[in-house]
């Protein structure tokens, strides 16, 4: 230790200026989370298999790029974002860790908002990048032969917008879990339920239209089309409602995270009530 030197007086900059810095730090922490390394290993394995398919002429290249991006983000990156956002939000929420932080001007609600900003500046940008890739590649993809629904189903902006929204919702769920259920075991349970549930949606049906997958794992609204999987062939034109449904769930997760923090809750309850109604309505409408 050296002799004390007097430091600078605190420049009073306010919350909005600090939020940017906090969001940047939280984004970096989320993106660096080791959970994503597992995802990269899985992705490398998937891409290798798909590349072999392309080389051997079993699949179209753009279909592979499109499908791999979709699978990587929806089935892997989003569930892993639940983990990374949860761990980052929980790391500074443990009682002993919080003690000196609670004496700082930015309170727990502002720190939670900081984590949400980090989510937007980090993992969600990966989702946006995936959305851009899918939007660019989509016109070059070829419909599967013998699948008339797939042939007429043009995936537009609203469809692709669901990808980053899914990542955002997953991250907000992770943050809400960190605030409400900070107990060991809660996170793996939720992630496994999400993962198996989402996997079930993508499981193909047999010739009789029966999906052989643990569909009971999917505690959300789904629809089935004969001789197809559960979700590949959405009712055409319903993507707006599906997007609204996802946004509603995302908003509910975000409000849930903030409701756990001290401060005025009336506005949050009003937003939660509106989001609940819109989510229910959109969920009903998307069934066609």
């Amino acid at each position: 230790m050296s002799t004390i030197t007097v430091g600078q007086r605190l420049p009073l900059v306010g919350w909005s200026a600090s939020a940017g810095g906090l969001g940047r730090v939280e984004a970096r922490r989320m993106l660096r989370h080791p959970a994503y390394w597992f995802g990269l290993a899985w992705l490398a394995s998937l891409l290798t298999n798909l590349a072999i398919d392309v080389v051997r002429g079993r699949d179209e290249m753009w279909n592979v790029v499109y499908g791999a991006t979709l699978l990587a983000v929806c089935l892997l990156y989003a569930p892993l974002t639940v983990i990374s956002a949860n761990r980052v939000a929980a790391a500074t929420y443990r009682r002993r860790v919080r003690e000196p932080l609670d004496a700082a001007p930015l309170d727990d609600r502002q720190r939670t908002i900081g984590a949400i900003l980090g989510l937007l500046r980090g993992p969600v940008l990966v989702g946006v990048a995936a959305m851009v890739i899918m939007s660019v590649v989509a016109p070059f993809t070829a419909p599967e032969a013998g699948d008339p629904v797939n042939g007429i189903y043009g995936r537009g902006v609203l469809e692709h917008l669901q990808v980053p929204v899914l990542v955002l919702g997953a991250g907000l769920l992770g943050i809400a879990l960190a605030r409400w259920v900070p107990v060991p075991g809660a996170l793996p349970l939720v992630v496994l339920t999400l993962w198996f549930g989402t996997s079930a949606l993508y499981a193909p049906a047999d010739a009789n239209g029966v999906v052989h997958a643990p569909t009971w794992f999917a505690p959300w609204i789904t629809w089935a089309v004969e001789n197809a999987s559960l979700t590949v062939d959405h009712p055409v034109g319903q993507e707006m409602w599906h997007l609204a449904y996802l946004l509603g769930l995302t908003l509910l997760a975000g409000v849930a995270a903030l409701l756990r923090t001290p401060g005025n809750r009336r506005g949050l309850w009003i937003v939660a009530a509106i989001a609940f109604v819109v989510t229910g309505l959109a969920g009903w409408q998307q069934l066609g």
Binding site: M1, T5, G7, P11, A17, S18, G21, R32, P105, L106
Partner: protein, 286 residues
């Protein structure tokens, strides 16, 4: 007055941790002594705005702690070292202090990093700033917590047993640091180390069983044991407390027997006499 507490009390469920306490303090170092469970940490957590009192008024640096705006204003000029502190996983020392600096509203990255480097240098942590916290020794971690409290030249420093885990040399340097900081600001230090109080604090408050038992100078506290400290080969019946001293005899406090030769009391003697033998000394059975 930077610190103005009026009838502040705290209860946890049915257990009363702090009786109504009133305390005023201005610039300088205020030492807080007391046995475990005396209410020191509760009082310091209230002063750090981490918990709210059950009753009473807390005004710090001219602001009312009960108001959100007041709390934010206080926290902008507050440094706090808690008794026990954990660290977020995966942080380096620099990243941790930088994170706290962001929470203290240091928005500009360059000036923030300069300030982080400064406080790390003050606590002698420059060389290990890039090391993961889990790889730092206990003393280094303690210094890291102190470093974050020094960010932004705070007007009020609340230090709860800051020297726990520091080696003797680090403790001496810490005293030097705090002495330097005491110029023009208020520092409240809770400690079990009476040597720290003697070295640092012109004023000491003794808390015991949730209430203030003494508020005055360290010499005044020592003087309370005048004529009530003596040494003998065996424990005397009038001794409230006795312990083996450096010379090999038993140093005793209480009511000396006839003919006993009193010795000059120390701050520790006065403190132990005040808290009735419930302090930290290992008692020797009669």
């Amino acid at each position: 007055m930077d610190i103005h507490l009026t009838n502040v009390s705290k209860t946890y469920g049915r257990r009363r941790a702090l009786d109504p306490v009133s305390l005023n303090a201005g610039h300088g170092v205020l030492g807080l002594l007391g046995p475990n469970g005396a209410g020191k940490t509760t009082l310091l957590r209230i002063m750090a705005t981490v918990i709210a009192p059950t009753a009473g008024q807390v005004r710090l640096l001219g602001h009312d702690c009960a108001l959100p705006a007041g709390r934010a204003a206080i926290r902008r000029r507050l440094g706090y070292v808690p008794q026990e502190c954990g660290f977020p996983a995966g942080f380096t020392g620099f990243e941790y202090v930088d994170y706290v600096a962001i929470l203290k509203e240091w928005a500009d990255r360059r000036t923030r990093h300069d300030e982080v480097r400064r406080v790390l240098a003050v606590m002698g942590l420059t060389d290990v700033a890039g090391r993961r916290i889990r790889r730092l020794s206990g003393g280094m971690r303690r210094r890291l917590v102190i470093a974050q409290a020094l960010l932004g030249d705070p007007a009020l420093l609340v230090l709860d047993e800051p020297t726990v885990g520091l080696d003797p040399e680090q403790r001496l340097r810490f005293r030097d640091t705090v002495s330097g900081l005491a110029e023009g600001r208020s520092v409240v230090v809770s400690t079990h180390q009476t040597e720290d109080v003697v070295a640092l604090c012109p004023r000491v408050v003794v808390l015991h069983e949730g209430g203030i038992r003494y508020d005055g100078s360290p010499s005044g506290l020592a003087a309370m044991a005048d004529g009530r400290v003596w040494t003998a080969a065996d424990r005397d019946p009038g001794a409230v407390l006795a312990w083996r001293s450096e010379g090999g005899g038993l140093r005793q406090i209480g009511v000396p027997p006839a003919g006993a030769e009193p010795v000059p009391p120390s701050l520790e003697d006065g403190y132990l006499l005040l808290v009735g033998g419930t302090g930290e000394r290992q008692e020797v059975p009669a």
